[in-house]
């Protein structure tokens, strides 16, 4: 399935925030962190995004890469094992639900945009990184691309939310994203390197405060973002 010319355009399609898969309803934990007073300025936003990329971002990237390499081999036999391993890396029930909702949405969108039999084998509510990995494979992309797509999606989605929950200069928000570009490349490389191994050995860096904040957020009455 690999694309001769590198598949860069397909990767951009998959990672684009305009992909109609409902990602815009989420702030990736930025809103709860702002509400709790843990982020008050741009330096705080940057620390938050870096922390998220290095923890939840790397985990998601590794699972996207792993799902991609399995789907590219047409071997989806241990996808439920991948699902269980990812569940174990997301302590917050709320964040597990969010990941599965986003996964269902991404599958709903991609199954319409670029149909493939793999989508039907993913179960009732697959995790977002796993759907991203399968979607990448279906588009002829490789594990590193899958990792990069989910890293970019989670990072730029949270960054875009900053404009709604903080007083920000949008150019500064994108300046942070530009400074993080090398970091995302490195993380995607780490994720892809881990992808071929057993699911239980995939990276598991954690950020407990984000899990706790997500639970608080669900119980907040007035919120802009679903998470």
């Amino acid at each position: 399935m690999a694309r001769a010319a590198g598949g860069s355009a397909a990767l951009l399609l998959l990672a684009d925030g305009r992909l109609p898969a409902g990602g815009y309803a989420h702030s990736g934990g930025l809103e709860p962190a702002v509400t709790a007073g843990r982020i008050t300025d741009m330096a705080g936003v940057e620390r938050f995004l870096i922390g998220r990329a290095e923890t939840a971002g790397l985990t998601a990237a590794a699972f996207a890469a792993a799902a991609c390499s399995r789907a590219a081999r047409d071997d989806l036999s241990d996808l439920s094992g991948l699902e269980a391993e990812l569940d174990a890396r997301i302590p917050s029930p709320e964040l597990r639900t969010v990941s599965r909702n986003l996964g269902r949405q991404l599958r709903r969108a991609m199954a319409g945009i670029h149909p493939h039999p793999h989508y039907a084998t993913l179960g009732a509510a697959p995790h977002q990184p796993i759907v991203m990995g399968v979607a990448a494979a279906v588009l002829g992309l490789g594990p590193r691309d899958a990792a990069l797509a989910i890293l970019h999606e989670t990072n730029s989605g949270a960054a875009a939310a900053a404009a709604k929950v903080l007083r920000v200069d949008p150019f500064e928000v994108h300046a942070i994203l530009a400074r993080m570009a090398d970091r995302l490349d490195r993380l995607a490389g780490e994720a892809a390197a881990a992808a071929a191994g057993p699911a239980c050995d995939l990276p598991a860096p954690a950020s407990p405060l984000a899990d706790i904040a997500a639970e608080h957020h669900r119980r907040t009455h007035v919120r802009l973002f679903a998470s």
């Binding site: 305009r18 309803a25 709903r108 709604k164 919120r223 802009l224």
Partner: protein, 236 residues
């Protein structure tokens, strides 16, 4: 029923905040729930306020009213990226099969927001007399081309110095013959007309005669303080 039962009629209810979308949905549920199997999806800006309102009004069993959270961007959720709403509708249709009608309330953040034809089969656009007599004349995709334009709260006309007959005439002028309905929850005859319109639409849909019409996209617009707005509609 026969072997060829089409999926439910998906009916959108759009219009600015406070014009009476939730009230119209509550009214329809009260009057039609014995004739049709119904479900409701709400789209909120901040909370699940609309779903709470409808649940507390007791117009349907609570589990048939579900809220979609739109990340403060409800016009996107009904037009540019309808995946969340589409899945909410499909889930509802699956969980309560067979449903006859699913009503989808828009978040109502924008006068020009309309539903995508990918999401609904037909749409109501709700204005109210309290918003001023001029609004209907100003037009826009929803006002001009929704399947039905409702001028709501006509009981308030005298209190807000709006000539209801004139407002209806203006609306009809903007719509090239498409229907306009003057409505008030205090005037049962108007409620009956609304219900009849929905009955006819449902019959046409069930018979396969209804052809969805797209009112067209919202006008290009600005989001002040939000130039980082990253999802696909034009800004000028």
């Amino acid at each position: 029923m026969t072997e060829k039962t089409p999926r439910s009629l998906r009916l959108g209810v759009a219009g600015p905040v406070g014009t009476g979308k939730s009230s119209v949905i509550a009214t329809l549920c009260r009057h039609l729930r014995d004739e049709f199997a119904l479900g409701v999806i709400t789209n909120d800006i901040y909370t699940d306020e609309d779903a709470r309102f409808l649940k507390s009004a007791g117009v349907l069993p609570e589990e048939r009213i579900r809220a979609v959270e739109t990340g403060a961007c409800p016009h996107t959720a009904i037009r540019d990226d309808v995946t969340m709403n589409l899945m909410a509708v499909e889930d509802m249709e699956r969980d309560f099969a067979p449903l006859d009608i699913v009503l989808v309330e828009s978040g109502g953040d924008n006068l020009t927001a309309t539903f995508s034809p990918a999401l609904v089969d037909a749409q109501l656009f709700v204005l109210d007399v309290a918003g001023g007599g001029d609004v209907a004349r100003k037009g826009g995709p929803g006002i001009a081309r929704a399947d039905l334009l409702i001028i709501n709260k006509i009981d308030l006309g005298p209190h807000v110095d709006v000539d209801v007959a004139q407002m209806v005439a203006d609306a009809e002028g903007a719509r090239e013959g498409k229907p306009v309905l003057a409505l008030s929850r205090k005037h049962p005859d108007t409620i009956e007309k609304l219900c009849d319109w929905v009955r006819q639409l449902h019959a046409a849909h069930a018979a396969g005669h209804h052809t969805p019409v797209d009112p067209g996209p919202m006008a290009p617009h600005h989001h002040p303080h939000d130039s980082n707005h990253a999802h696909g509609h034009s800004h000028d």
